[in-house]
Amino acid sequence: MRPQQWLYAIPLRLRSLFRRNHVEQELSEELEFHLDKKTEEYINAGQSAEEARRKSFREFGGLEQSKENSRDARRVNVIETLIQDVRFGIRMLLKNAGFTATAVLTLALGIGANTAIFSMVNSFLLRPLPVKNPEQIAALAFRQKKGALQNNFSFPELEDLQNQSSSVFSDVFGEQLGAGGLTINGKTEPIFIFYVSGNFFAGLDVKPYLGRYILPSEGSLTSINPVIVLGYNYWQTRFAGDPNIVGKTVLYDGHPVTVIGVTPKEFHGLFFFADTQGYLPFGMEQIDSSYTPDLPTNREDRTLLVYARLRSGVALNQAQSALDVLSDRLSRQYPASDEGLAICAYPERISRPQPDPDKTILKIAALFLILAGLVLMLACVNVANFLLVRATARQREMAIRTALGGTRFRLIRQLLTESILLSLLGGAVGILFGLSASNALSSIHLATSLPVLLNFDFDWRVFGYAFAAALVTGLVVGIVPALRASRRGVTEVIRDGGRTMSGSRSRLRTVLVVVQVGGSLMLLIVAGLMMRSLNYVQRSDLGFEPRHVLNLSLDPGEIGYNKVQGLQFYKQLIERIDSLPGVESASAAFTVPMGYYASMDSIDVPGYEVPAGVAPPIAAYNAVSPGYFRTMSIPLLEGREFTNADVETSQWVAVINETMAKKFWPKESAIGHDFKLVSDRVHSLRIVGVAKNSRTSGFSGPFREYFYQPLAQNYSSLATVQVRTTFPPETMTAAIREQVAALAPSMPVFDVHTMLQGLYTLNGLLVYELAAALAGVLGALGLVLALVGVFGVISFTVSQRTNEIGIRMAMGASQNIILQMILRQGFWIVSGGIVAGIVLALAIARLVGNFIAGVSPYDPITYLGVSALLGLVALLACYLPARRATRVDPVVALRYE
C-alpha cells in the first residue's frame, strides 16, 4: 500500500478496531437498507411481503458470510483474533492451574538460569562505559618482538602516543593504579585510587557530578598539583555525601590535597571489577614512597594503562594502521627499549579487565551460555512433552473446531498463543529467579578490601534477552504440539474418541526424552569435571604451606611514612610479632600468593643469548622481608635467604626459583650470577639463593620464572604481613593489631584473613569454586528436568498401554514380565541418552579444557562415573511408573475401554 493510501486506511482501521460496535451496526444498517430495497422491489412486482423478503434474502447469498467478508476487508480481524486467542488462552491456562504452574516453573528455571548468566555476560562484554560515545574508546596494548601482549606503557611512550597519533585519536590518556590512605579528622583509611593523565576526564567526556575535574595543565608528571577527584560512592560513604566537599582539604598519604570534584554516580572508572574511589593527577606519584626519579624518562618502566578515544568517523582498523606506522617509527627511534614494538588497539568493551587476544572472558561467557542454554532446552523439552500430552487430550476439541470451520492455520495460531503465553509467564517468573541468582553472584566475597564492583544489574539488555528467550521458547515448545494437534482428520478423531495415539507421536516423545537425558548428562559431566578440578586445586601442592598463616595488609605510606620510616616500621613490627607467644615466624611481602597484586618485568641475563627478533624473557617477582621463606615454608634449595644486612646501599640481591635457575644456568649453580630488570638498568641483582618452585597464581601448568628481592631494595609501602602461628591463626589477630597500634596508632590494618581464606580470590581458588558451583547448579537443574522427562514419558506409556497390559495379564503374563517390558523401554531411552550425552560432552570438551586444572577434559573416570550415576537415577525414575504398571488390575483395565 502506498503512503497516500494509508492516509485513508489508518483512520478507518482505527475506527474499525476501537469503535467496533458502531462499525458493526453501520454494516448491518447498510445491508438492511439493501435488503429492504430489494423486498420493496419484489412487493412492487406484486409478491406478498413475506415471499418478497425471503426471496431477497436468498438472492443476497449468505448475509453473515457477506458480513464476515466485509470484516475481513477491513483487515482488523488479525488483531481481534489475537485478542480472542489471548483471552481464550488465559482461560485455558487458568482452567488447568496445576499444569500451568508446573510448566511455568519449569520454564522459569530455564529462563532464570539464562538470565542470570546473561546478566554477567552483559556486565563484562555488553554494557558500554557510561561516557559519551563509548564505542569510540579503545584500550591500547603492545607486543614486543612477537612476545606476550602487555598492557602497560611507560610515560615517554604515552607521550609519544599522545603527540603522534592525533590524526586518529582525539585523546590518548593514561592511568596508573595506586593504593594509598586518605585521612580526615585524624582517621586514616585505605583508598583505591588512580593516578591519571590531565586529559583523562576530557578524553572520556564525562561531566562531573560536583565541582570540576583534573585539568590537562595539572596532569604533568613533573609538577605536583595537590588535588583529588572523588568517586561518587566513596564520597557518599566516607564523606556522607557532603554537598560542600569541593574545596575542602584532606590528607592523601599524609600530604594535604584539595577535593576539586566528584564523579557521577554511574561512573566507576575504567578498571573493571573495582569502584575507583579517587583520582589524582600523575604528578602526585612523586609523593609515593616507591617513586623512582627516572620514571618520566625511562621508556622501560612500564606502569600505565592507556586508553584512547577515536576521532569521530575513524574506524578502529584505521587507527590500527596509524598505530602500526607509529610502532615502526618508535621501534627505529628507540631500538634499545622499543625494538619490535607493535601497539594494538582493542575496543574497550572486549578489553575488560584487560585487552586479551585469547578472549578468555568471551570463552567463559560462551561456555556458560551454552550450558545455561542447554538447561533451557531441557526445560523446553519437558514443557513440549506436557503440551504433547495435552494436545492428545484436546484432540476432540480440535476436531470439533475444525468441523465448525476453524482452519488449520487458525488452530495452530490458537495453540501457539497459548504456549507463548505460558512461556512469557515463565519468563516473568524466570526474571525473578535470575535477579536473585545474580544478586547472590554479585555479593560473592572476594577476600579483598578493594572496592569490588560486580554490577550484574538488569538493564534493558537483560530484560530484552529474557523476553526474547521466552518468546523463542514459546514458539519452540508450541510448534510441534500445535502442528500435531491440528493434523488429524475429524472423522478419525471422532471415531476413536481421541483415546489412542499413533505410534509416531510416542516415538517423537521418546526421542525428545533421549535428547533430554543426553543434555543433562553433558551438563553433569561438565559439572563433574569442574568439581574434580576444584578438588585437585584444593589439594594440590602449592610449594608453600598455606595452613597456620595469618595475613594482614598495611600501608605505612597512608599515614605519610616515607621509605626509611616504612622500612623501619616493618622491621620493628616483625620483631615485635616474632616475640609473641604462638608465633613461629613473621615476614612482610608485597605479593601474596593468589592475591590481587603482582609484579612482572622483562629481565636481562648476561650470557643468555636472546635470539634476534624474540622478546626478552619475562619474570614475575616479589619483594619480601627477611624470614619470608620460613614463614611460607618454601624450602631453599641452595644459598641463603635475605637478612637485615641486605639494605638499599649494599649489593642488590635476589633469590630465584628452580625454574629460573634451570633456564638460565642449566649446567652450573646460579648462585653468584647477576641479572638486571629492564626497568632498572642501574642495579645488578646478585643471586644469593635458589628456592623451591611455588604457586603464585594458578594451580596447574609449568612453573614460570620467578624471583624475590628484599623489600629494602625494592620498597613497596603496601605490603602484607604474614605470620606463621602454632595457634589457630585467626586467634592471633587481636594481639597482632595491638602491636601495630603500639608502633603507629593511626595506621589502618586491612585485609585480615588466614592464608587459606586468602586463596579464595579471583586469581586463586574462587574461580574454580565459582565455576564448579555454577556448573553444579546447572547440572542439578538439568538432572531434575531430565528425570521429570523420563518419569513423564514412561508414566504416559503406562497409562496409554493400560488396556494392553490388562489383556497381557489376563492372558497370564506375570508381574515380572510386565515390569521388564516397561523397563526395557526405559533402558533404551536412558542408554540412548547416555551415548548422546557423552558425544555432546566430548564435543564441548576442548572449550571446557580451558577452565579446569589437574584433570583432562576427556577424563574417563568422570565420564563413566557420571554416566553410571545418571543411568541409575534415570532407571529409578522409570521403575516407579513401571511398578505401577504391574499393579494394573486386568478387570478394571478392560472395563476402562
Binding site: 453501520e26 437498507f33 443476497f60 447469498g61 477491513r74 475444525t402 470451520g405
Partner: protein, 122 residues
Amino acid sequence: MYRTLGNRGERVSKPSDLVQGTLDLLLLKILALQPMNGWAVSLRLKQISGDVLQVSDGSLYPALHKLEQEGWITAEWKPSENNRRAKFYSLTRLGRKHLEKEAANWSRLSAAISHVVRLEEA
C-alpha cells in the same frame, strides 16, 4: 465434506467468473460517474452488464469495503429518497488515478487477448 461447510478462509460468494480485479474496476467506473449507495450500485451493475457478469449482492459489499480500505473510494451517510439514511460511496482522487491506470491496463490486456484469440482462429 466438512472442509467446504463453512471454511472461513474461502470466500463462498466470490464471483468465480470474474477475473480478479475486474469487479474492482467495474465498481470504480460506476462510482466515477456519480456517487451512489450500495443498492444503486447493484442495480447499475445489473443494468450495464446484463446477465453476462453475475455479481451476487453478497459479494458486492465486501468488495466496496475493500475499495474503501484501499482509499480509492470514500463513504458518507446521507439521506436517500424516502429520507432513510444510506451509505453513499464516491471516488477519491487516488481512486480516480487508480481507475485510469487500471482501465488503461485493461484495454491493453483485452486488446492483446483479442489479438491472440484471433490469431488462433486464423
